[in-house]
């Protein structure tokens, strides 16, 4: 039983990270019908930015809570800026171009960010300082949960609930939903679509930045090509949940994390990835729009 609960915690931790990253994919897709392949690399970029700020400003030990909050905010701002720049340079000029051109542009942007990371920080592995958070952990009858895990789970939950409320209860949220349904109609209603898209990139990049920082703090080793790994998993999570749907991305991320942990724990680690993709195929066959994706009539 404690093994099962432990796998549950393991799965939820990595699942929340996938969910945070998946939100960036799903929001951009929802509004622009574009798969932002550069998002994973933006996540890797934020881990590096976070590491630089950590080490430059505060040295590698003795981080106070205030400092950590400052690092998170600074990283989120820097990454949001890069995200907006990405939209401006790589996607906006192609807004009216065929969708394939935008996808190719996204793949190109992904390579640009990846190589930029390599040129700025070098090809060697960079390592996050140990104990950014205290290395405390609690033991509940054999189930171990660490302070870092608690922070990851709690902050992810807060961010996701916050985002859900923002999208559903505020005026800008309503505008975002309207833009997602029909950009032209939204324009006619007086919504500034460009501003909405910039907002989407700011929010998506900031969530990705928090995800990237958590990845850095929890897993410690950063490589310039790590964005691909987390990007791919988050993308799968977004599809499982229903790409374009915000609760779908959260659910998809958590499900993917749990599913992976359970398969690794009870069937075989060797087969975990194979089963993940089988799950993806099964879900797409049964519900082509994902678990929480809405059926939409194709525009002719």
């Amino acid at each position: 039983m404690d093994t099962f609960l432990q796998q549950l915690i393991n799965g939820l931790t990595i699942g929340s990270l996938y969910a945070l990253v998946a939100l960036g994919y799903t929001m951009v897709y929802g509004v622009m019908k574009l798969i932002n392949f550069a998002h994973g690399d933006l996540v890797a970029f934020s881990a590096y930015v976070g590491l630089t700020i950590f080490t430059q400003f505060y040295g590698s030990n003795a981080l106070s809570l205030v400092n950590i909050v400052i690092v998170f905010c600074l990283t989120a701002i820097v990454v949001a800026f890069v995200g907006v720049l990405l939209e401006r340079l790589a996607y906006r000029p192609l807004r009216t171009a065929p969708r394939l051109s935008a996808v190719v542009s996204a793949l190109g942007a992904s390579l640009v960010i990846q190589n930029a990371i390599m040129l700025i920080w070098g090809p060697n592995m960079e390592i996050f300082p140990a104990d950014v958070f205290p290395s405390t952990s609690w033991n509940f009858g054999g189930v171990i949960i660490s302070f870092t895990q608690v922070i990851i789970l709690a902050l992810s939950a807060v961010l996701m609930i916050g985002l859900y409320t923002f999208i559903n209860k505020t005026k800008i949220g309503t505008a975002i939903r309207a833009t997602a349904i029909d950009q032209d109609a939204a324009k006619l209603m007086g919504i500034n679509v460009n501003r909405i898209i910039v907002t989407i990139f700011v929010i998506g990049s900031m969530l990705g930045a928090i995800g990237g920082l958590f990845i850095g703090i929890y897993y410690r080793g950063l490589t310039f090509d790590m964005g691909w790994l987390y990007g791919l998993n988050a993308f799968i999570a977004a599809i499982i949940g229903g790409i374009g749907s915000i609760p779908g991305a959260m659910l998809g991320g958590l499900l993917l994390g749990l599913f992976n942990a359970m398969i690794s724990g009870y069937i075989s680690t060797e087969w975990a990835e194979t089963f993940t993709f089988i799950l993806l195929i099964v879900i797409l066959i049964l519900r082509p729009t994902g678990i929480l994706g809405e059926k939409t009539a194709e525009k002719v």
């Binding site: 093994t3 432990q6 393991n10 104990d131 171990i144 897993y219 410690r220 080793g221």
Partner: protein
């Protein structure tokens, strides 16, 4: 002149210049991961080769010719390695040092064999010498020698009852893991679990939680330091009270950085690391390396590769020719060539014989203490 003619002319002149240059230099290739996960090892291999080549060139070169080093980055990937092999062969190198990983070495082996280019690598996978290519010789020691030593240490010296053996999927790590599990069983030890992780995935908690339920006394990991350090850190986070023993490729400063506080008490089994090599040659070359590159080599591997290069140079000088067949035959006939990493003896199939291992224990500050030899 149309485009086709221009290209032809350029190609022709390139061939002409290269053959002209080729007459007063001799080229030696380096195939190593200059970028990617194992970049610090690859760069160090390249550095060490350049150190030895520059020393040789300053002393008049090789049989009167200056040595030119041609480096190709294989990123420790098999596909890139195959491309590197073709590229280095086209460059006309007589010998290739590398690569760092067994997988990348193996992918390039056949090309070098067909072109008659000598290749020497630190790759420890047993399969590297299974083809018995006359062009290949190993400058480190094979997994099988390490696995016997490791099994002996775990079963007889430490008397572990429940042993877990983990590896990744690379040909080196999987080979060493399988060999170690087999050696443990052969001397009556109990392997409760033999598992594999996917290198680079960073999240190993699922596997470790599974392992925890088996109450192991020791977890042995035969992969690379980038995953080993994380495994060790996550093992401590999950409070699995087992010793951790790492195979040779965990011996890298990054292991301690990744494992953080958990690094303390980690046991590593490896060839003697550079700084404790007792040989005359070692003191001389390691001091020269440090003076030039302002740091120590990250592990023993760049040093064994340097020995591979020195053996090739010795072969050229003793046979007084650049005929790779003669050089390869000479290297196999050498008796106790004074290598930086100890006496250098190569068997007929290209295997380096006379393995020596050391058991280290990590201190809190990342320094190492030899606990047994």
């Amino acid at each position: 002149m149309n485009l086709k003619n221009i290209t032809k002319t350029i190609a022709l002149s390139a061939i002409l210049t290269s053959s002209l240059v080729a007459s007063d230099v001799v080229k030696i290739g380096v195939q190593a991961p200059i970028t990617g996960e194992y970049a610090n090892e690859g760069q160090s291999i390249d550095n060490f080769v350049k150190l030895i080549v520059d020393e040789k060139n300053a002393a008049g070169g090789l049989l009167g010719k200056q040595i030119e080093v041609v480096t190709c980055d294989d990123e420790a990937k098999a596909q890139k390695a195959a491309v590197c092999a073709k590229k280095l062969a086209n460059e006309g190198v007589i010998a290739v040092i590398g690569s760092y990983t067994s997988g990348a070495t193996e992918a390039a082996q056949t090309t070098y064999f067909r072109k008659g280019i000598i290749q020497t690598s630190d790759g420890t996978s047993d399969s590297l010498i299974s083809n018995k290519y006359w062009t290949f010789f190993r400058n480190s020691f094979p997994n099988s020698s390490q696995s016997d030593f490791t099994a002996e240490y775990m079963v007889n010296a430490k008397k572990y009852k429940n042993i877990v053996v983990l590896s990744d999927y690379s040909s080196y790590s999987e080979g060493l893991g399988d060999a170690t599990a087999a050696s443990i069983k052969a001397i009556g030890g109990n392997v409760v679990f033999r598992g594999k992780i996917k290198s680079g995935t960073q999240n190993f908690t699922a596997m470790l939680t599974k392992v925890k339920a088996m109450n192991p006394d020791v977890i042995y990991y035969s992969g690379y330091y980038t995953d080993g350090g994380l495994l060790r850190a996550q093992q401590q986070q999950l409070q699995i009270n087992a010793d951790f023993i790492g195979g040779d490729s965990n011996d890298n400063p990054d292991f301690y950085k990744l494992a953080g506080k958990a690094a303390e008490g980690t046991v590593l089994i490896n060839f003697p690391t550079p700084e404790i090599l007792p040989y005359e040659e070692a003191k001389k070359y390691l001091a020269a390396y440090k003076a030039r590159f302002k740091m120590d080599p990250p592990s023993i591997w760049p040093v064994t590769n340097a020995d591979g290069l020195r053996a090739v140079i010795e072969g050229v000088e003793k046979t007084n020719s650049f005929d790779t067949k003669k050089i390869a035959a000479y290297i196999r006939s050498m008796k106790d060539f004074p290598g930086i990493t100890g006496p250098f003896n190569i068997r007929e199939d290209g295997e380096r014989v006379g393995a020596k291992f050391v058991v280290y224990k990590m201190n809190e500050d990342g320094t190492k203490k030899v606990v047994s030899e």
